[in-house]
């Protein structure tokens, strides 16, 4: 594929969005590879698809529900058992920067 499909800066942005702290040389390498890959997958745009509905699922199921009944929960111990850190029955996480 000729031409740039994606810039290094865009890749850096994607890494940030995806919460990946890439090292600089890693970023360089991935940016090159992504450029090639995106160039290749862009082939889908060659397909004339005006008026073709997108398919999210091959199977055509609708209306799959569960009844509004309670089922036993895991229990706090089991829920927290694999937590990297826990305190007062809660998951302890590092300080959060962003307001929700």
């Amino acid at each position: 594929m000729t031409g740039v499909s994606i810039t290094r800066a865009e890749v850096a942005h994607l890494a940030k969005l995806s919460r990946l702290a890439l090292a600089d040389d890693e970023l360089d390498h991935l940016a090159e590879q992504l450029d090639v890959i995106i160039g290749a997958v862009a082939r889908v745009q060659e397909v004339a698809a005006a008026g073709i509905p997108p398919t999210t699922h091959a199977a055509e199921l609708v209306n799959v529900f569960r009844e509004d009944v309670n089922v036993p929960s895991l229990g706090a111990d089991a829920a927290l058992a694999q937590a990297p850190a826990a305190e007062q029955g809660r998951f302890r996480v590092p300080r959060i920067l962003a307001e929700d």
Partner: protein
Amino acid sequence: MSSAATAAGAAVQVPFDEAVTRYEPVIGIETHVELGTAAKMFCGCPTLFGTEPNSAVCPVCLGLPGSLPVINKAAIEYTITIGLALNCSIASWCRFARKNYFYPDMPKNYQISQYDEPLCTDGWLDVEIGDQVVRVGIERVHLEEDTGKSLHVGGATGRIHGADYSLVDYNRAGIPLVEVVTKPIPGTGALAPVVARAYVTELRDLLRALGVSDVRMEQGSLRCDVNTSIAPGGAAQWGTRTETKNVNSLRSVERAVRSEIERQAGVLDAGGRVVQETRHFHEDTGRTTPGRSKEEAQDYRYFPEPDLVPVAPAPEWVRRIAAGLPELPAARRARLRAEWGLSVLDMTALVNAGALDLVAETVAAGASPEQARNWWLTELSRRANEAGLELGALAVSTEQVARICALVDSGELNNKLARQVLDGVLAGEGSPDEVVAARGLAVVTDSAVLAAAVDDAIAANPDVAAKIRDGKIAAAGALVGAVMRATGGQADAASVRELILARCGADSR
């Protein structure tokens, strides 16, 4: 650009009344409602409030690897119910979508929500402001899952800013959340804050009547974000809007809109531009502050939820839900107003006093609308104010109030006695009848007792009696007073007067 406009925080506000003479506000309200289903949106965990942290979680609502959501049918039904009550169209086919962003209180780092295919669209809710009716358009009603809750540890205020770390409880994660979004509401002028508050109040009452949520703002089962923009009077386009969060009470809804109008007017007056941003409302100051500035608007990368299949509510199901809707608050108010023959203003006063349901119940228990209104709006309101209680928290039931009214109707009590009986009930002495018996508060009807009291009064006041005999009927008043005192107020004053006149041989004409 003046320094006032660029200074952070304490920019000049324009007093509200002035601001609304020069600027026209447009408001919008987004309300999140926690549904009162038994189970969560996508799993069978319970939705109870206030249980031990992380005790109501499972692989699904904890977002454990491999877990999958399954839609709670009741949540769909409740949402359709809300949509129908808001006069919306119900989608014949719709999907859930993933809203992608990272945040520790969201176990999957995406929220299953609805994006461009909401379950309900394009409805309205009428809001009564005095004798005006404002029709608030409803853009959409959709369904999503709630997030967990974090406690922020180490900072001064318990908020995120300055905290050292956070503790997360996922009990709330996955609880079904309905989002109701209004269309923009222009043309309210100075009434914008009041309209906002009235809309949230009406919506809350409607949701309560539908039985789909306990809608308690203080517990977070009803949450509001208010959007506010202003534009110079007569402008062709609306202004830039801000979104204000952390609006946790009805009063805050009103104050937040008011505050934003004042602030934005200050910005525009100074020649500045309103920044499109999310702001945080502060109860203590009644002001808003900017949220943490984001470099750019969030790109949530919505796409249809691949773990779920579409929802296509059968028309028959929707019809059944529509047929089962209860009487909605507006219709109920209109019906009761007509039944009770009240003016709009009188009805509004009742509603504003929080007495509507109490009066209705009292009427249902047998009292007349006039009596019920009278008691609740005067005597009971006074006592509630004195005790610092809500009307409904008084220690008297509507049946008991109706019984007191009945006792007055039958003549067993006069108004003065009735108030004493009420005191007794409020003090916990028992039912109205029990208080009457215990305190001996019944109107004295025994003619012998009355006759004796009358004779005593005449004997004690011969000069007054003489005046009466001479035709000064008005003088009877003093003797009536004497007899009332003698009977501890437990006589019927009118009957006593007649007796006195008769005894004095005067014409009671």
